[in-house]
């Protein structure tokens, strides 16, 4: 196992598992790493392990399209996501790492009156909450992003768009490296190739995790398993209201700079940005069927490329280079689940669904608080598992649906 991974030792240590830790985080994705980082940094809890069945930077951490924004709709969600965006604004300095975090603006196009009304409502809600948001008419869109086809004679003419100028993108690999380095330096053990196979219980309290690298005792356990959260919960004896689907994305070959913002279209199921290196990065809606296979069906990609070509005729000459899928954990209300589980000392952080990348900082920040204080952070009180019993759902399908 020691030789299974080529680790950049100048970034993080590769320790052997200790017999026990104060906190074991299950899942070494961005949210798991972020949780461990904030446990150590904000709360001084350094006797922490992150156990990861694969390797750092192999799952959704690098299977996303790196969109960052905070223009959600509900009063419960907006402060959470915008606090997250403010954390992004400080992360490069705090982590001392060039994350290529670039607030180039996120445009959300609308193509129907109903959609335009919904997006205008979100713009208004954002502004009332102090989140930057603007409504652009088609001429403004053309000025802000010249390659968008705003002519009225296409199948779904553009009727306007919202713009969040503080939104943008970052380089996801760099975020993995930066967080792993920071957590490791603070004392967190990052244990790769360490798959959880069960939980050790004393009554209804978890006391350790059983892994492919042996038993590891744990004062508290945090499950941060994204699409595999339902499987982890099953090992601990409870269920989650989560369904796991493939979410696909693709990149083109490297082309000249043509696009300096993120553009998304909910109706046409496509969103595009251009990486600093030059590839066009595109995502679509999720596949319709449940899966843990990290791949989806080709017609989803075909559909998003059709939409992209109608909206951005200049992309006709680009070539499809690479496609991939991540497994996303979708809740009934498209909002995350944060906090206690039915098992004592076992906490859950999941359900970020199709839009988890942007939430990497805030997810770890509030989840670390819950692990330490045993109560939710004030930004996360509305996102408990119990909301599905009380009916106090936080419906973010409009904000999260396709515009990840």
């Amino acid at each position: 196992m020691e030789h299974a991974f080529t680790n950049p030792e100048f970034l993080w240590r590769t320790p052997q598992p200790r017999a026990s830790y104060d906190v074991v985080i299950v899942g070494g994705g961005l949210h798991g790493l972020s949780t461990a980082y904030y446990l150590a940094k904000n709360h001084g809890i350094r006797n922490v392990a992150v156990v990861e069945r694969g390797w750092l930077g192999n799952g959704n951490a690098v299977r996303n399209t790196t969109v960052i924004r905070s223009n959600y709709l509900r009063a419960e969600s907006m402060p959470l996501y915008d606090f997250g965006l403010r954390l992004w604004e400080g992360w490069e300095a705090e982590l001392d790492y060039d994350l290529m975090f670039d607030q180039r603006g996120v445009l959300a196009l609308t193509h129907t009156k109903v959609e335009a009304n919904g997006v205008k409502r979100t713009v208004a809600a954002n502004r009332l909450t102090g989140i930057d948001a603007e409504w652009l008419e088609p001429d403004d869109i053309k000025a802000f992003c010249p390659i968008v086809n705003v002519s009225p004679d296409i199948r779904y003419p553009v009727m306007g768009a919202s713009l969040q100028r503080r939104g943008g993108i970052a380089r996801h690999d760099a975020v993995v490296f930066a967080l792993a380095r920071a957590a490791s330096a603070l004392g967190v053990d990052l244990l790769q190739g360490c798959e959880v196979t069960g939980f050790e219980m004393a009554g209804n309290r978890v006391t350790g995790v059983l892994t492919s690298r042996g038993r590891i005792g744990a004062g508290r356990v945090g499950l941060v398993g994204a699409g595999r959260s339902p499987l982890l919960a099953g090992l601990a004896g409870f269920s989650l209201p989560i369904q796991s689907y493939p979410l696909q994305a693709l990149v083109s070959d490297i082309v000249d700079p043509v696009l300096d913002c993120v553009v998304m279209s909910g109706t046409l199921h496509v969103y595009v940005s251009q990486a600093q290196k030059g590839e066009l990065v595109m995502g679509a809606g999720r596949d319709t069927y449940h899966s843990y296979a990290q791949r989806g069906s080709f017609q989803i990609l075909e559909h998003q490329i059709q939409a992209a070509l109608e909206l951005y005729p200049i992309m006709r000459r680009a070539h499809l280079l690479r496609t991939w899928a991540g497994i996303v954990d979708v809740t009934p209300d498209a909002s995350p689940i944060l906090g206690r589980s039915p098992v004592d000392a076992l906490y859950i952080n999941c359900g970020w669904g199709t839009g988890g990348f942007k939430a990497s900082p805030v997810s770890g920040y509030v989840f670390a608080h819950a692990l330490v204080h045993e109560v939710p952070h004030e930004l996360a009180t509305s996102f408990s598992l119990e909301r599905f019993e009380t009916g106090t759902l936080v419906d973010e399908h409009g904000a999260a649906g396709v515009a990840h």
């Binding site: 595999r228 339902p230 499987l231 269920s239 989650l240 209201p241 989560i242 369904q243 796991s244 319709t288 069927y289 449940h290 899966s291 843990y292 296979a293 791949r295 069906s297 080709f298 017609q299 009934p332 599905f388 019993e389």
Partner: protein
């Protein structure tokens, strides 16, 4: 793309169908936890999964499918009345 054998029409491409989620949902006896489960919880296994699809651009029949969620292989399809398909 999946190739799905409709019990009525035979093997057709996935684009003719729509996924309908978990196969059999049984209403509870009336307690709140039971309703919570019915409304919000679905099976989500890694492996064989009993689900329903509808041949929306074909015969428009709903039918049962067992599909492996780790490989996408379709293990069986059958009619809603439980009979094997004629196709």
């Amino acid at each position: 793309m999946l190739l799905i054998t409709c019990p009525w029409c035979g093997a057709r491409e996935e684009t003719e169908f729509r996924h309908g989620g978990e196969g059999v949902r049984v209403p509870p006896d009336g307690d709140d936890p039971g309703w919570t489960r019915l409304l919000y919880y679905r099976e989500n296994p890694a492996g064989p999964y009993a689900e329903r699809w509808v041949h929306v651009h074909g015969c428009r029949q709903w039918f049962h499918v067992v599909r492996d969620t780790t490989t996408h292989q379709i293990l069986s399809t059958r009619r809603l009345d439980g009979q094997e398909g004629a196709a």
